[in-house]
């Protein structure tokens, strides 16, 4: 049990730091799935596996943009979990990528919900100190900021720890009874990621003059390079 906790601790800390980056600090986008999953994979010694699952998650995450008050999934902690889970099965048994991506997207969903709760907690904390804020109390302004950042870090740590502790045994057990060809399983995940990425691209660019033509030119180049390699 204690060995398992020691196993989880660095993963939870990494997930906490990357979850904090989403909104709180420093918003340098180290929380993007491509970065976070690679970091997760690196933590368990397989950065390449982390990067591959990170790329699949990045394609899905392209659709969700962190506009101010919008409600969006929290990819930092989630991609860390996904990267670690896939890297722990670096031999890539059938279904490993499906389960890692599924686990990460599910964690991102819960993470998004937890961010909303944190924002409500921040609002209540500010409301309770309204009189001090109205009187310009320096300690209150700084305290609310540091309190919010600390709570966000703790949120990411707990989310990552709970998600990893719950999903790691589930993924391992599922892979033991996975009954679909590995290449087919992987093609289905890539198909899902591609669909979300295409829809995300359409949402971003469809209203921009000439963007669809520029996209098609790029697509031609991309497909040519892909075929030539």
């Amino acid at each position: 049990m204690s060995a398992y906790l020691i196993d989880i601790l660095p993963i939870a800390l990494l997930g906490g730091l990357l979850g904090l980056d989403v909104v709180g600090f420093p918003q340098a986008m180290i929380s993007r799935p491509l970065v976070a999953a690679t970091a997760g994979g690196m933590l368990v010694g397989h950065s390449m596996s982390g990067m591959i699952v990170g790329a699949a998650l990045e394609l899905i995450a392209l659709e969700t943009l962190p506009f101010g008050a919008a409600r969006y999934p929290e990819w930092g902690s989630a991609a860390t979990v996904g990267g670690v889970l896939y890297a722990r099965h670096s031999a890539d048994p059938a279904g490993a990528m499906t389960m890692a991506v599924l686990a990460a997207v599910a964690t991102a969903w819960v993470g998004g919900w937890s961010m909303i709760q944190l924002r409500n907690v921040n609002a209540r904390a500010a409301g309770r100190r309204q009189a001090a804020l109205d009187s310009g109390a320096r300690g209150t302004v700084i305290g609310l900021q540091i309190g919010g950042l600390s709570a966000d870090l703790l949120r990411g740590i707990l989310l990552t720890a709970v998600a990893y502790a719950a999903l790691d045994p589930l993924v391992t057990a599922t892979l033991g009874i996975w009954d679909v060809d590995g290449k087919l399983s992987r093609a289905m995940v890539v198909g899902v990621a591609a669909a979300v990425a295409l829809a995300g691209g359409w949402k971003l660019f469809h209203s921009v003059p000439w963007a669809r033509w520029v996209f098609l030119c790029g697509l031609g180049v991309g497909v040519l390079v892909l075929v030539a390699r």
Binding site: M29, T38, A123, R186, A195, A197, A199, V214
Partner: protein, 238 residues
């Protein structure tokens, strides 16, 4: 102030949004008011600046610089309030279009293209982080300097051609990167031999069209969660 800008959203909430963060970032400058941090002028200014405020977190640096300047110039309180209100809208929409809907996807897609071309973890992650953060940090530094130097005249800086007309150009760049990057990245994720390309192609076309069609009812990532769960259940229940 510049280091505090990176934590400007630390206490973000649905009531005051970025408000507390603006006060938090300006606090070191406000200490320069006559009488220092125990003076009534400091307390009044901090109270004023910690109220509701909305802006893109990077472009909020413009507001922090400009508002700090007008506070230290001892402008009348009602004038500062009006100026603060006027800054809210433009700093939000400019940042959303330029950064969230333009620069971030562009950097992400360039990194995916590097990944698709066979780049290793350091090359892929390094490409993304360096490319993205040159602009990220640049906007924060530029914003603080511009706001501080121009004070009440900061509106003219917001009329800069890059800010007014840059978003569609960045979006077109991102579209180009999407065209090149998506097939390359998908080709690498699918792995050696690129098995079942017809499944990927059909799923991408039909699934993409479905998500676009349902865009006001369900987001793609939620749909992907459902589809992946169904795939997983079907794969173990056969």
């Amino acid at each position: 102030m510049i280091s505090r800008l990176f934590a400007i959203q630390g206490a973000w909430n649905y009531e005051t949004l970025l408000g507390n963060g603006i006060g938090f970032c300006m606090e070191p400058a406000l200490r320069l008011l006559p009488g220092g941090k125990k003076s009534p002028a400091f307390k009044a200014a901090l109270a004023r600046q910690s109220r509701y405020f909305n802006a893109h977190p990077y472009f909020a640096a413009v507001a922090v610089g400009a508002l700090a300047r007008v506070e230290l110039d001892l402008e009348p309180a009602d004038r500062i309030e009006r100026f603060r209100t006027a800054l809210t809208g433009p700093l939000g929409s400019v940042g959303d279009r330029l950064i969230w809907a333009g620069w971030m996807p562009f950097c992400s897609l360039v990194a995916l293209a590097v990944f698709g071309l066979g780049g290793g973890p350091y090359a892929v992650v390094g490409t993304f982080l360096i490319l993205y953060n040159v602009v990220h940090v640049g906007v924060r530094v530029w914003g603080l300097n511009t706001g501080w130097n121009r004070g009440l005249r900061v509106a003219s800086a917001l009329g800069h051609p890059v800010l007014r007309h840059g978003a569609p150009h960045v979006a077109r760049l991102a579209a180009l990167a999407a065209g090149i990057g998506l097939p390359l990245a998908l080709g690498r994720v699918i792995g050696a031999g690129r098995a079942y390309p017809e499944i990927v192609l059909v799923a991408a076309m039909l699934g993409g069209a479905l998500i676009v069609r349902l865009q006001n009812r369900i987001e793609g990532w939620r749909l992907s969660l459902v589809v992946l769960a169904v795939i997983a259940i079907a794969s173990v229940a056969r």
